[in-house]
């Protein structure tokens, strides 16, 4: 049972990242390679806020807002000129953004490792089914559930969510109906970026802050959103949990095969059900 709890926490962290990525793809049709770099930026910014205020919760609240601004700039100046062009160019430009963001982080924070610790309220441990699990991991699970519920509710049940969904499936029609699709895209990108930054802030106490921390996790994110279905939040949650469990089981029984298993799973999914578990098969651009 403890395996499940730990697998859940691994999955939830992945979900926080994957959610933003899948939303951006759903709305903008862009595979945002810069997502990992924004996650890293989120972690570093959160670290800095903690350094200044010694308050993790402030960092969790305000860090993502700051990073979202960066995301807005990226969308406005690098992606907006490229809509309507081949996807390859969007991929390329987000790739290039990674280089710029990494260099900026290096300029500000240097090459040394940075440390961020869990807030004192979450520094303890609890015993769950015979294994010791940190309170912080339980927090991640709870936070992940709350966030996914919130996102789901926002997209499915609110007016703004309806507008986003409409603009995603048919932007021309939505724009005819008076929706400012151009500005909406920027907003959605900023929300996606904020989610990546939240992921970074949450991951900070668990993982070392170092340059390049984004590139190791971005590939996992791709796996999650492909399995779940591009653009699909429900799919992202399930996909993240699946990958989380695969990794947990892998660590339990065959730790050196974790990566192979993950990619085999991905390839099987692409072979059998490429649109993901939750999407409907449609014509692809």
């Amino acid at each position: 049972m403890s395996l499940v709890v730990i697998g859940l926490s691994i999955g939830m962290l992945l979900f926080l990242l994957a959610a933003g990525l899948t939303i951006i793809f759903g709305m903008l049709g862009v595979v945002n390679f810069a997502h990992g770099a924004l996650y890293m930026l989120g972690a570093y910014v959160a670290y800095q806020i903690v350094q200044w205020t010694n308050n993790f919760w402030l960092a969790l609240l305000f860090g993502p807002c700051l990073v979202a601004l960066v995301g807005g700039l990226i969308e406005r100046f690098t992606l907006r000129p490229l809509y309507g062009r081949d996807h390859a160019y969007q991929l390329l430009v987000t790739f290039a953004c990674v280089l710029v963001i990494e260099e900026a982080v290096r300029l500000v924070w240097g090459v040394n490792f940075r440390a961020m610790n869990a807030p004192p309220s979450l520094a303890g441990t609890t015993e769950v089914f015979g294994s010791i699990v940190t309170d912080y991991r339980l927090f991640i699970i709870a936070f992940g559930i709350a966030l996914s519920a919130g996102l789901f509710f926002a997209i499915e049940k609110t007016r703004i969510g309806m507008i986003v969904r409409a603009a995603s499936s048919n932007s021309i029609m939505a724009s005819c109906l008076g929706i400012d699709v151009v500005r909406l895209r920027t907003v959605v990108f900023m929300v996606g970026t904020a989610l990546a930054a939240v992921g970074g802030a949450v991951a900070g106490p668990l993982l070392p802050l170092k340059l390049g921390m984004g590139s190791t996790i971005i590939i996992d994110c791709f796996v999650v959103i492909i399995i779940g279905g591009l653009g699909n939040i429900k799919g992202a949650i399930i996909g993240a949990l699946v990958i989380g469990m695969v990794r947990a089981l892998g660590q339990q029984f065959a730790s050196d095969w974790i990566n192979m298993l993950t990619y085999l799973l991905l390839i099987v999914t692409l072979a059998v059900r490429p649109e993901g578990l939750f999407n409907r098969r449609g014509r692809e651009a």
């Binding site: 490792f113 940075r114 699990v133 340059l211 947990a248």
Partner: protein, 391 residues
């Protein structure tokens, strides 16, 4: 015309080469530095550079000409290492210095052999560098995995552990080190209760940590590098693993990584490849100069870079000429009585330097020292911890 443009482009490219014409009479002693200044090992490379700078400043001249260093960023990629090393060798350097990861160093060793230019290794720890892959022109003044593993084995004996769990990074150095430990444990009649190989860059060790905790082992031997060490120790610290199953490892922890883990790192034991607190006159002098220039405490990469280069400069001065073959012959039998570690001796059989081994424990520090740092708890004499000389 398009053709003219393309031709001009090709010629322009070749024009770059006109700058790299060789000079026959050396007007400077040139160190070709191939180190990772970006990528995963950027910290290593930048530290090596800093340590080297201190050495160059201290000596300023060798063979009556100024010492110069040309630095090339190998991006933590062996292919780039080979490319940059080839470029430096083609441009003419007196010695090659570097590289960062063992894979990178192994990749450039054949080049040094081919061009007959000495390669000074002060960081990479893979045994093959002075073992199966050794060559006449490669010298290593820093430690190797074998030595560090032997020290860990000595620790196991001294601490009287009855059972050990193994966690190693899924890379040749990780597996080889654990296999060596396992064999030694077997010989000593100590149980190895479990093993796990985690891929490099693993984000989560919680299940493995859980397994270790439940295994009832007396200690867990960890062979990880850089950020994986931090991830593991952080996550292990959150469940206070060290208080139930003592954590020890070979060269996986240093001041920088200890600081990144946080207070939970206190009590973890490790081989210390170098420490700024080690009390020798050379080390004191180096640390002072380093702190003055960079306003921080030097780490192992800086310390070994400094030490290795000073040693090499001494060798060259002793030879007194530009004959590379004489440098090699002198270096392989030389000793370095005033290294930062005290007396060190180069082994002619494999070009591996021999010196004391430092065993340390992570502890809290007080100003002006960093908050968290390694404290050297014992020193191992060089006998018994180095591999036997081949043939």
């Amino acid at each position: 015309m398009r053709t003219a443009l393309i031709a001009a482009l090709a010629l322009a490219c070749s024009g770059i080469g006109l700058n790299s014409a060789n000079s026959q009479t050396p007007t400077a002693f040139t160190i070709g530095g191939v180190v990772p200044l970006s990528g995963a090992y950027a910290l290593l490379g930048t530290s090596m550079q800093k340590g080297a700078e201190i050495a160059i400043e201290e000596r300023a001249k060798v063979l009556r000409v100024p010492i110069k260093a040309i630095w090339e960023d190998t991006e933590t990629k062996p292919q780039t290492s080979v490319q940059k090393a080839s470029k430096l060798l083609a441009g003419g350097v007196s010695i090659l210095f570097g590289d960062g990861s063992s894979g990178q160093t192994l990749a450039i060793m054949p080049l040094a052999q081919q061009r007959k230019i000495p390669l000074l290794v002060t960081t990479s720890a893979a045994d093959q560098i002075t073992g199966a892959n050794r060559n006449r022109y490669t010298f290593r003044t820093s430690s190797l995995a074998f030595k560090e593993t032997r020290m860990a084995i000595e620790y196991v004996k001294k601490a009287g552990l009855k059972s050990v769990y193994g966690l190693a990074v899924d890379q040749p150095v990780g597996r080889d080190t654990w296999n060596m430990m396992k064999a030694a444990l077997k010989e000593l009649g100590i149980q190895s209760v479990g093993e796990d190989f985690a891929p490099i860059g693993s984000q989560d060790y919680s299940i493995i940590i859980d397994k270790i905790g439940k295994s009832g082992a007396d200690g867990v031997f960890v062979v990880t590098t850089g950020s994986d060490t931090i991830t593991f120790l952080k996550q292990a610290g959150q469940v206070k693993l060290n208080s139930r199953v003592p954590i020890f490892g070979t060269g996986f922890l240093d001041d920088d990584t200890a600081a990144a883990v946080g207070p939970d790192v206190v009590g973890v034991k490790t081989v210390a490849r170098y420490h700024f607190s080690y009390d020798t006159p050379a080390n004191k002098r180096f640390v002072e100069a380093y702190r003055k220039k960079f306003n921080e405490w030097p780490n192992a990469y800086a310390g070994h870079a400094y030490d290795g280069l000073i040693w090499f400069f001494d060798v060259v001065e002793k030879v007194g000429s530009w004959d590379v073959e004489k440098w090699v012959a002198e270096f392989e039998k030389s000793s370095h009585p005033n290294s930062v570690f005290g007396p060190a001796q180069m082994r002619a059989c494999d070009h591996q330097a021999q010196g004391v081994g430092l065993w340390a424990e992570a502890a809290k520090g007080s100003a002006p020292y960093p908050e968290l740092l390694l404290k050297v708890t014992s020193t191992f004499p060089p006998d018994h911890i180095y591999p036997a000389c081949p043939n």
